[in-house]
């Protein structure tokens, strides 16, 4: 049986892993390789590296650290941020990443998803979606969420975009529920359930994890394939080996920690 995946997300700035407070005042957490190996040893099923400075600086992902990570870890990893073209995606994949994730560039140019899927296969192509509920009760997507001063609300409904990206060739969707992001009160189960109902490809929940119980809820109630989190893993308030034991006790299939 396919295991539910636990995915730590690491923000990379100038070649180091950082932790931001409200997207600002980034604190250096350590070297990329050191943290990648630590999470690998703790039993993370996959890693996501988010190059938070690539897009604002108008450059592609720095290939050097992607290659260093690819050399040392033996679990899959995805690179997000700064990928706006097939050529940039190829660079990252050639450096050894298993998947690439696109967000704002896909909203600006949806054909990018088709082009990436045709070139590399749908299994490489992850579409990240930042979503927030508007005053009228509809969930709509947001662009440029890497910088709170630039974040833009778009008229596009989240559920419409979820359907469209699948048609265009997304092999996986990461739904970042911005309303619950960073507050550690649990994943947005209502929104994730609504997306799950129309999502035939793997769905990754993001935003809101605070306790082991939140992970169990999102797998059991929203039937997501994977749960992504950053701060609870970085701070050590949720540790992956204990989390896996707790999930397994509730009948949730997870990978053995080697």
């Amino acid at each position: 049986m396919l295991s539910r995946r636990l995915i730590p997300c690491l923000d990379v700035k100038d070649g180091l892993v950082v932790k931001g407070v409200k997207f600002r005042d980034h604190v250096v957490m350590g070297a990329i390789e050191e943290l990648a190996l630590r999470y690998r040893d703790e039993g993370a099923d996959e890693l996501v590296f988010y190059d938070i400075t690539a897009s604002p600086q108008g450059r592609g992902v720095d290939r050097a650290w992607v290659e260093r990570v690819a050399r040392i870890i033996d679990i899959p990893f995805c690179v997000a941020g700064g990928i706006r073209s097939v050529a940039q995606a190829r660079e990252v994949l050639l450096a050894g990443a298993d998947k690439i994730s696109v967000n704002t560039p896909a909203l600006e140019r949806p054909e990018l998803i088709n082009a990436l899927a045709a070139e590399f296969g749908v299994q490489c192509v992850v579409v990240g979606i930042d979503s927030l509920r508007d005053a009228d009760g509809e969930w709509r997507v947001r662009a440029y969420t890497g910088d709170p001063d630039q974040t833009r609300a778009l008229p596009r409904r989240t559920l419409d975009w979820v359907a469209e990206v699948q048609q265009r060739g997304a092999g996986e969707i990461v739904l970042n529920c911005m309303g619950s992001d960073g507050v550690r009160t649990g994943y947005d189960l209502e929104q994730l359930r609504a997306v799950r109902a129309i999502c035939g490809v793997p769905l990754v929940a993001s935003g809101g994890a605070g306790t082991a119980r939140h992970f169990a809820e999102v797998f059991l109630d929203a039937d997501v394939d994977a749960a992504l989190a950053a701060s609870v893993f970085h701070s050590g308030s949720v540790r992956i080996p204990e989390l896996k034991t707790a999930l397994r006790a509730q009948g949730i299939e997870v990978r053995d920690v080697a």
Binding site: R5, E119, V122, D225
Partner: protein, 199 residues
């Protein structure tokens, strides 16, 4: 030992080379016929789609060469699918080294395609390639097409329906999962492949 990775033009075959480096083996990535023929072990990695991958092998004049190899050959992911007679993906004829046809995995309630993540291997017959790999060991898969469980299947996996996770026919073997991204289990498989006696 000389190990080569067939450079079939895929974008992320570097990770297989790094996995071999972690085992202390430096593998050349090549499309050169002489180099491939002179190798002790040949690995056919692959991501992408079956039809363009076969077209590339044809362009590089490698189809006949791969069919005639005597040394151990390991196909990984799409590389394993190319070992079969044909694939529904692009309705293409493949290398025909292992009987059977690769088909699209059917999605159903709770069964998502692509099949992406860690799933359990079920050895179906004893094989030196599986030495040290226990029943239920988990490996990382990411694919939408799959090969059938036949007499050449040495380990199966289940996602909605059973499919071949590993095959072997004489000197030709394949792994649908990614050993280079499957932790200790994957490393063990690669090690076994490097150590196996040529069939």
């Amino acid at each position: 030992m000389k190990v080569v990775l067939v450079d079939s033009g895929g974008a992320n075959i570097g990770s297989v080379r790094y996995a071999l480096e972690r085992l202390g083996v430096s593998a050349a990535m090549t499309a050169d016929a002489e180099t491939i023929l002179a190798a002790d072990r040949v690995i056919l990695p692959g991501v992408g789609a079956a039809a363009p991958a076969m077209a590339r092998l044809q362009q590089m004049n490698l189809v006949h060469l791969l069919r005639g190899l005597k040394q151990p050959l390991l196909g990984i992911c799409l590389g394993m699918q190319l070992l079969f007679e044909g694939s529904e993906e692009g309705d293409v004829a493949c290398l025909g080294l292992v009987p059977g046809r690769v088909r699209k995995m059917p999605a159903s309630a709770g069964v998502r395609v692509p099949h992406m993540g860690w799933n359990r291997l079920r050895p179906t017959q004893a094989d030196p390639l599986l030495a040290g790999v226990v029943d239920g060991a988990q490996a990382y898969f990411v694919h939408s097409f799959a090969a059938p469980v036949t007499g050449h299947c040495i380990a199966s996996c289940d996602h909605g329906a059973p499919f071949a996770a590993m095959v072997r026919r004489g000197n030709v073997a394949g792994a649908q999962f990614h050993p280079e991204r499957s932790g200790a289990v994957g490393a063990r498989l690669l090690q076994n492949f490097l150590q196996a006696d040529p069939a």
